[in-house]
């Protein structure tokens, strides 16, 4: 790199302009879809946000309202109406009644995503294509008060903390053991690396479906395995209802995630171990140190950069647990034992349409993650050993 010292010359400014041209596409995308929403997340938490469905121009007026209303009231779409809507681009068998009120119905066409508003005015039914408008009203700290007073949110925070508090350290310790084993193996490393990595790259949704089957109470692999082992030991074993017993929901989520991430973390640690200078080991051997103390006093301390990195990313990653809950439990689980913070945000926003409340909850999530990361960066990192 050219050494630029003294006053900044013409070349420096030209290079600055050029560099920003190269950075422009990245900054545009990140600016619009990361930084801007990030600021809005804080902003929106102070608003009550609603969507309103507003009608467009009338596309059809029916004079025989009487024959349509009973069908619409039952959530069915009259064939004539469907035919009318087909004329404006809807697909007949993809139409359904999304919402309804005393004298209006919102029909949705799943094929195009377009919504239609049907309004009854006396004996007339008017059909409009509908558009969504967003309405924001400032409410101050009301969203935060509602979130913090919501027992569901308290439960979500508790569940998530238990999940993070158990799975982060346990996964890391197991990964350290696995990495040590991999490091000591002389042959077949490629095979073991492959099997360790598989769970990490497979689609979460697909593999969680497999685990839902593994956790099946009567026919699942896990209960069968536990029962067999208990049989060998001569113990009683009553089948565990992993996904429908509040006590076992968290362990099931934790177990699955340890399985998913332990291999990935082990590979990162292994890369670190392979980067450790052999001289350290030789010096230790000369001093007569045994395997265990070499591991404890040389390997692990020299791995602290990797351990620290894993701690941060797995902490952030674990706080975001959501898909696993949705697929494994198909909901928040028995007694909401699987309700996590992100699940709470998701349902508040996209099921109850309380976007402001959801924003407030996600701001709290950010504050938790951010303060833990800062704590790690300032307090924990001071104890990290860096080579050289």
């Amino acid at each position: 790199m050219a050494l630029v010292s003294g006053p900044r010359g013409r070349r420096f400014w030209l290079e600055t302009v050029e560099a920003y041209v190269y950075l422009l596409p990245t900054l545009a995308v990140l600016g619009l879809f990361t930084f801007y929403p990030f600021i809005n997340a804080f902003l929106y938490s102070g608003y009550d946000i609603r969507t309103r469905t507003v009608p467009g121009a009338v596309v059809h007026t029916s004079t025989e309202a009487g024959s349509w209303i009973p069908l619409l009231a039952r959530g069915r779409i009259p064939e004539e109406l469907a035919a009318v809507l087909e004329g404006v681009g809807a697909v007949q068998d993809k139409l359904w009644v999304r919402a309804r009120g005393a004298n209006w119905w919102i029909l949705k066409d799943d094929a195009s995503g377009q919504e239609y508003l049907v309004v009854q005015e006396g004996a007339l039914l008017r059909v409009h294509p509908a558009a969504t408008r967003w309405a924001l009203d400032p409410v101050g700290g009301e969203n935060f008060r509602r979130v913090l007073r919501d027992p569901d949110f308290a439960k979500a925070v508790r569940n998530t903390s238990i999940y993070v508090g158990v799975s982060v350290p346990v996964t890391l310790i197991l990964a350290l053991v696995l990495a040590t084993l991999l490091h000591r193996a002389v042959g077949g490393k490629a095979f073991f690396r492959l099997t360790s990595f598989l769970p990490y790259i497979t689609p979460v949704v697909a593999i969680t479906m497999v685990w839902a089957w593994i956790y099946d109470r009567d026919y699942g692999l896990l209960n069968y395995f536990l029962k067999t082992v208990a049989g060998w030991l001569g113990l009683e074993f009553s089948l565990i209802n992993w996904l429908n017993d509040a006590r076992y929901v968290m362990p099931a989520l934790i177990l699955m995630n340890i399985w998913r991430f332990v291999g990935y973390q082990a590979l990162i640690l292994l890369a670190g171990m392979q980067g450790i200078d052999r001289e350290y080991y030789e010096a230790a051997r000369v001093d007569g140190a045994g395997g265990w103390s070499v591991w404890r006093k040389i390997t692990v301390p020299l791995l602290t950069p990797q351990i620290f990195f894993l701690l941060i990313i797995s902490l952030i990653g674990s706080f975001k647990i959501f898909e696993e809950v949705l697929i494994l439990l198909q909901g928040p689980g028995p007694e909401k034992a699987g309700l996590t913070i992100v699940y709470y945000v998701f349902t508040k926003a996209f099921d109850s349409k309380q976007y402001g409340v959801a924003s407030a909850a996600s701001v709290i999530l950010f504050v938790i993650i951010f303060s833990l990361s800062v704590f790690q960066l300032t307090v924990v990192q001071k104890r990290v050993h860096y080579e050289r």
Partner: protein, 284 residues
Amino acid sequence: MRGHRPRVNAYLLRRAAGLGTVYVLLLAVAAVMALPFLWMVTTSLKDLYQALRIPPQWIPSPPRWDNYPAAWNAAPFGIYFWNSFFLAVTTTVGDVLTSIPAAYALAKMTFLGRGVLLGLLLGTLMIPGQMLLVPSFILINRLGWYNTYWALIIPWTAGVFGIFLLRQFFKTIPDELWDSARIDGCPRLRYIFQIAVPLVRPGIATVALFKFVGSWNAFLWVIIMTDRVELRTVPVGLRFFMQDIGTDYPRLMAAATMAIVPVLILFFFAQKQFIQGIARTGIK
């Protein structure tokens, strides 16, 4: 080994025993890692009656291959696979194309605000994506992108992971190369794409692979930004398939296998790049 003194023999024996233990443990771990996959595949080849047998039968006889066409035809999986493939390709190409010049600038150029920018980009790693769901949803709606491919492609055409990884690769290129190219009158952008890029090909392969797999697995963003069958990706389709057919495990597992296999094939062919990507993320 004849002629060694007993002390050495004991040392060798202890080492052999140690190595034996290492391998037994490693094989046990490998079995635990692989078991869910084997269980998935074997279930996918059974009929429901066989699948619910206890003790489980590991080798289905006769194998029910028709679970696969049955699952495939029970939902529009053709659309789901096409969408996943299309989105994975477009976002990967976009991400690589935006990351190359950005990473080069951050690695090799001296300009105002470089340090601030590096910090800012690194900072985005601290933002949990889930925090952005609501504002992104509102933004996408306001852009009029709800239920469009734009919503699924454009936001994912830039990424910090690729920039930092490529930046490390670009840093290893000696400055003299650019100096001589400049003297020959080569514009910088041409130098980047024609000379520097071929030198960092392994890095680009790694970025592309991770991005591709990430897009293939995309779920949450897709269920929030779209609700049309025509826009569902494989994971989203799987979820609806699961809701539709309930606990018909053989067909569910056949569908899961179909979703996982493309990723596995990719992984088998590009193991080196994956492992390299992992090793690099850990070190820096």
